[in-house]
Every structure is written in C-alpha cells, then in structure tokens.
C-alpha cells in the first residue's frame, strides 16, 4: 500500500440556499437563509483503504459523498482523486477517464435499480457505456460479475423486484464493479437491510476489497458497522470533521467529547454494564448553528473560547479542550474496548 493519498478532499464546502420564495421573503422582510451542509472538510484516503465518515443525521456526511463522486458541485474546495482534480477545469479530459473508476452504492436498493430494466441490462450498462467489452462478450462478463457477488448468472434475465433487499444490494455492487471501478463511495449501503443480510453484504464488500484492491469511502451512522469495516474513521458533526483517527485508536481512545458521547450512546450488546453518561440534547438547527465550536451547547467542557472560536482540526481532533489538555478529566470516562 502506497502512503500517497489516493483521494484527497481539501477544504470542501457546500452551502444550500434554503430561503423562502422571493415574494414570501420580501413580505416578511427576511434575507436569504443559507445552510452550510459541509463546512471545510479535509480528508485524505489511501489506496486500498476503507475510510469511513460517521455522524448523525444532518452532519453532512452524505453531502460529502455526493460531492466526491461529482453528483453535486462543491461551493468551495476541491476533490483530487489519483492526482486528477474533480473540479479544476484544466483536468477535464483526465477527469472523463477517471469517472469510470469512481462508482457509488446507495442506501436504498429499491430506489437505485431501474424497475423496468432486467438485471443483465442494469449491470451491462456501464460495460457498454465505457466500451469495456465487445458486444458478444458482455453477457459473459455480466455472468462473471453476478457470480462474483454471490448471485447466479441466470439471474440476469430477472427484474429487480424478484430479488430481496440484500440481493438487490449485491446487484448494485455488481453494477459498480462492472465499470471496473477502483474507488467506491458507499452511502449507508446496509442501513436498509436486516442484520443477518447486512453481515452478508459487509463480508462480501470486504472480500471484494481484498481481491480487487478497492478503495472505499464508507458513509454510515452506525459506529459498530464502521468499526468492522474501516481502517480510518472521520467523525462529522454539523458539517465539520471533529475527529479523524485510525479505527482502533478512535474506539479505544476517543478524544473529542462528541465522539465520546456517540460511543457512549451505542446500545451495549455485551451488557458489560459500563457506565453510561446521559447524552445531552440534540443536533442544533444547521441553519443557525451555535457560534464557535458547534458542539459547545452539548459539551460539558465548553468555555468562553469554545463559544467564540471555531477549533481547527489539529492532531486529528477539532476541540479546544483537547488542545488545551482540559479533556483528560474524569468527567469523560474512556470506554474500554478491544
């Protein structure tokens, strides 16, 4: 594995205009309302690694995913994949070639497959679009891909509705692989599935990564799934990355108060009886986020500086209390793990 970053996300920002219609706005004498969904995210992903972004609803993790694959133009910042900028105009030709290598798997396998197309045609579409096989070879390639994801080549003749949720997600994976992609962005790929099916899909994704050397950007709200899948984890809160750490370290030594709170809130299947700190409050409205560190209203360690200044991401954590060495007190017990 090379140490050079395969995917680099630099100071990525996205602002949505959520203003009311012009007339209403004028009558109510209101200005424009802007929502900063992603507010300066910088992340780098190594080749062959799984990088996970976790966060609760409204943290901006899916918006990052959509910007990385190019489904949504960023308001500012840039995404560089294998040395090619996804945004700079000069890289247009190289970007066209790169597109094929970036694929996405969506959360809802009922919505991401065209119900009127047979599975064979769904999987063959990228092969034909990118001219990856001669027409007579397409069918064989589809069969091969179906076998790769644990389905039968004969399934190519069926329609998506004939499959269960887990099988559909396998079809979506086969479609991503059909383009011979090496970077796959997975937005909550197993959230809509039952646990036993989730286990099948997660195992499959790990196997494929090993066999094909895939790089994953894995978006999830489920910390346990992320722990199982990812090598490096970024925790997002209200559009910012508040902590980045290798998976093992994040779970054994969470540093940011929000990460600690999240880990504490995960239901404990082992019933080890670890003490739980009651979680305070909910994510604030992103249209009018708190000043300074956006986590400050829920944080036990917040002081005046936290309410005033946005903490920079330094040494993997964006927290004044951690930077100042105030976070090691006993009111944030560490979670035993590993």
């Amino acid at each position: 594995m090379s140490d050079a970053a395969f995917v680099q996300i630099r100071d990525l920002r996205r602002v949505f205009d959520v203003s009311k219609p012009w007339l209403e706005r004028t009558l109510a004498r209101e200005g424009h309302q802007l929502l900063k969904a992603v507010d300066g995210v910088t992340v780098s992903i190594r080749r062959g690694e799984t990088f996970a972004l976790v966060g609760e609803s409204g943290s901006g993790k899916s918006t990052v995913a959509r910007m990385v694959v190019g489904l949504l133009p960023p308001s500012a910042g840039e995404v560089v994949i294998d040395g090619v900028s996804m945004t700079a105009a000069k890289d247009a030709a190289a970007r066209k070639k790169l597109r094929r290598r970036i694929q996405m798997i969506f959360q809802d396998p009922y919505a991401s497959l065209d119900p009127r197309w047979r599975v064979g045609r769904i999987i063959a579409e990228p092969i034909r679009a990118f001219g990856l096989a001669k027409e007579q070879g397409v069918e064989a390639r589809v069969g091969e891909l179906l076998r790769l994801v644990g389905l039968d080549p004969a399934d190519a003749a069926k329609f998506p509705h004939e499959f269960s949720g887990g099988q559909r997600q396998r079809i979506a994976i086969a479609r991503a692989l059909a383009a011979e992609a090496d970077f796959i962005v997975c937005d909550e790929p197993t959230s809509a599935l039952d646990v036993s099916v989730q286990a099948q899909i997660l195992n499959l994704m790990k196997d494929l990564q090993e066999r094909l050397g895939l790089t994953y950007l894995f978006i999830s709200h489920n910390l346990a799934v992320v722990r199982h899948m990812a090598a490096t984890i970024g925790v997002m809160y209200l559009g910012r990355v508040v902590e980045v750490a290798p998976a093992r370290q994040l779970f054994s030594h969470p540093r940011h108060p929000y990460t600690r709170m999240l880990l504490d809130a995960v239901p404990d299947l082992a019933m080890s009886g670890r003490p739980r700190t009651p979680v305070q409050g909910e994510i604030p409205n992103p249209i009018s986020p708190p000043s300074g560190c956006t986590f400050n209203p829920r944080c036990a360690l917040a002081n005046d500086r936290c309410r005033r200044e946005v903490p920079p991401l330094k040494d993997g954590t964006a927290c004044h209390a951690v930077h100042e060495g105030r976070a090691d007190s006993q009111d944030m017990p560490e979670i035993a793990a590993g």
Binding site: D207, A224, A265, L269, M271
Partner: protein
C-alpha cells in the same frame, strides 16, 4: 408467579389472499408481567409487528386472528367488539410507533391532543386535564412544558416528538405499552435518551412493555426478557442476558453473531446463508431448516415445539412460562449436546463463511 398483564396463547394470524391463505403468525405464545419489558426481535417478515397489531386488535382485513387467545389481566380481548376494543386501546394499552410524525396530528397543538386523549379516558375537566398534560410532558423530559404544550408537532425535533408520543401513550395510565420500533427513526444519541426514558417510566409505574424492534442492541439495553421470532413463530424466548450471551436456537446464535459490535472487531461477521422464507413458502417442519447447519431428518418433517429447557423430559407444553425456552429438535435428541454444538458454530461460521 402473579397473573401476567398480557398473556398471548397459541395466536395464529392469517391473511386470506387470492393465492391462498398466508399464515403470518403461527401459534405464538408469551406472557408479559407487571413492570416487565419483553423485547420482540426478528428480521423483516418475522411477524413481530403483526404480533403487536394482533394484541391491540388492529389487524386489517384480509387479515384475521384465526385461532388463539389474547388475555389482558386474565380477560380475553381478542374477541371483543371493535367498540369495546377502542375503549381498551389508549386506556389500558398505550401505543408508540416508529414515526412520531404520523402518530401526531400536525393540525392540532400538542396540548390539545394530550388533553383530548386524557379526557376521553379519565374523568377530568379541561383545566385538570391540561395540568396533567403539563405534568406528563415534564415527566417525559420536555423542557418548559407549560410553554411547549401550546406548540405544534412540527415545532418539536424528532426526539422531542417521540417524547410527546410517549406522553400520549402514558396519559391514561395504561397497564401495557406496545412500542413498535420506537427508536428506529432516531439518531443514536437521541435513541439512547428515549430508551432510558421508556425504561425508567415503566419501571416507576409498573407498566408492562412489549418492545418490538429489529435492533438487538436496544433489546439488550432495555428488555428483561426477549422473544426471537422467525417466520411467524417464536424460535426462542428467555431472559435477555441468557439469550444474548448463550442463545440456544441456531437462528438466534447466527443472528447474534451477525451483529457488528463495538467490543468485538473480528475480521468477519457470522453469516447465515439465504434469507427469511416468504409467507407463501414456509418450509415444512422447522421453518429454519433450509438455512440451519444442523438440519437432520426430523427437522424437515416435524415442527419443533417451543419448550423450556427443564420441560423437555416431562414433555409438558407450556413453553411460554418463565425461563428459557427454545423451539429446536436438537435439544430433544438423546446423546447430542445441542448447546455446545450451537455455541461452537457461533465461532466457526465466522471463520469458514464465504460470501461469494
């Protein structure tokens, strides 16, 4: 044991369709005692929500309760008229559903909905009912309830809405609360708050709770006992600690192993091959037999009964009593240490399983 608050006996629910009769619940039995939380867990299609609907008499045609009994404090409620049942719902049985937005009327203030429900079931005047509504909102942890009571549902966040729904469910002091996926639509941090709240309130009031969810973590945190459902049947029922740490049924063992947890970051998850059968194709014998690593001749012909581990020898048939019961033939075979077998493949399946 004192009389259970809810007792379900051999409940069968069928849906009549053009292609034949589908059996959604097949002889489901369980009890819930006073102040007890029974978790009902299973994957999509296991019949857990149908169980909840059947208990409160909300099975819509073409579905019907084909046989069996539902007893609330010893009194049969499955054969009551819709009119009588309506008095029980809300008064004696409270309900919490997954999506708090659909449980609340968006056009009415939260307070109006609470007051209306309280006055329907309790003999209070408007002022007293309002006072009680404020108390309830305070109890479920809504800050400044005397002000928030006049808010509309859309002014509350998801977690706060679910608190309001919980207050609605509790307002007539029900003996039983049926909570169907109450935390599924919520973020983890809020989910933890709601679980803690549900648990505390029911403990304080002695309310029995039937907690339906697909999330084993929620069950482990909240429930006293758990029933694992598979294809409309109860596969295993027992104290939550036993079922989670030493599941007896091969399906339950696979299910526990397939859940990624924070504590165990193993390389592979346990994988149960295949998926839950459709209702029109439930296998003969044990419904789990096509997916089970230990299937033998008996499993494909004879349906295993839900029997307590101690009751095996005597052959008595009230598996829904307290204790740990499992519906699996392995535990009847002489000379087979079924428990050891099932515990072992919890580990082995992870090591040998192959996805493709």
């Amino acid at each position: 044991m004192t009389e259970p608050v809810l007792s379900v006996r051999d409940l069968c629910v069928e849906f009549v369709t053009r292609r034949g009769v589908l059996r959604a619940l097949d002889r489901v039995s369980f009890d819930i005692g006073k102040g007890e939380v029974l978790g009902v867990v299973g994957e999509s299609g296991a019949g857990k929500s149908v169980t909840g609907s059947a208990v409160i008499g909300l099975i819509e045609p073409p579905g019907r309760i084909a046989s069996g009994e539902v007893l609330l404090k010893g009194e049969r409620i499955d054969n009551l008229s819709p009119e009588r049942l309506r008095h029980i719902r809300g008064k004696r049985i409270g309900m919490v559903f997954q999506d708090p937005l659909t449980s609340l009327n968006p056009l009415y203030r939260v307070g109006e909905q609470l007051v209306q429900t309280i006055r329907t079931h309790l003999p209070l005047n408007a002022a007293q009912a309002r006072e009680r509504a404020i108390e309830l909102l305070a109890e479920v942890g809504i800050p400044a309830p005397e002000r928030r009571i006049d808010g509309y549902p859309h002014e509350f966040s998801g977690g706060m809405r679910q608190r309001v729904v919980l207050a609605l469910a509790l307002c007539a002091e029900p003996e039983l609360v049926i909570a169907d996926e109450p935390t599924t639509a919520l973020d983890v941090s809020v989910q933890a708050q709601i679980i803690t709240l549900l648990k505390r309130i029911c403990r304080e009031r002695g309310t029995a709770v039937m907690l339906i969810t697909h999330d084993m973590g929620v069950i482990a945190e909240t429930a006293d006992r758990v029933a694992v459902m598979y294809a409309g049947r109860v596969a295993e029922i027992g104290p939550v600690r036993d079922v989670v740490s030493r599941p007896f049924h091969p399906y339950a063992a696979g299910l526990m192993g397939s859940i990624p947890t924070l504590e165990t970051a193993s390389e592979r998850l346990v994988q149960i091959p295949g998926s839950m059968p459709r209702l029109n194709a439930i296998p003969v014998g044990c419904a789990f037999n096509p997916r089970c690593p230990h299937t033998y001749a008996r499993c494909v012909v004879e349906r295993p009964e839900l029997l307590g581990r101690g009751e095996r020898a005597s052959g008595s048939h009230d598996g829904a009593g307290a204790g740990h019961a499992v519906a699996c033939h392995l535990y009847d075979e002489p000379g087979v240490d079924a428990e050891a077998l099932v515990q072992r493949d919890k580990v082995a399946a992870a090591a040998t399983g192959s996805a493709a």
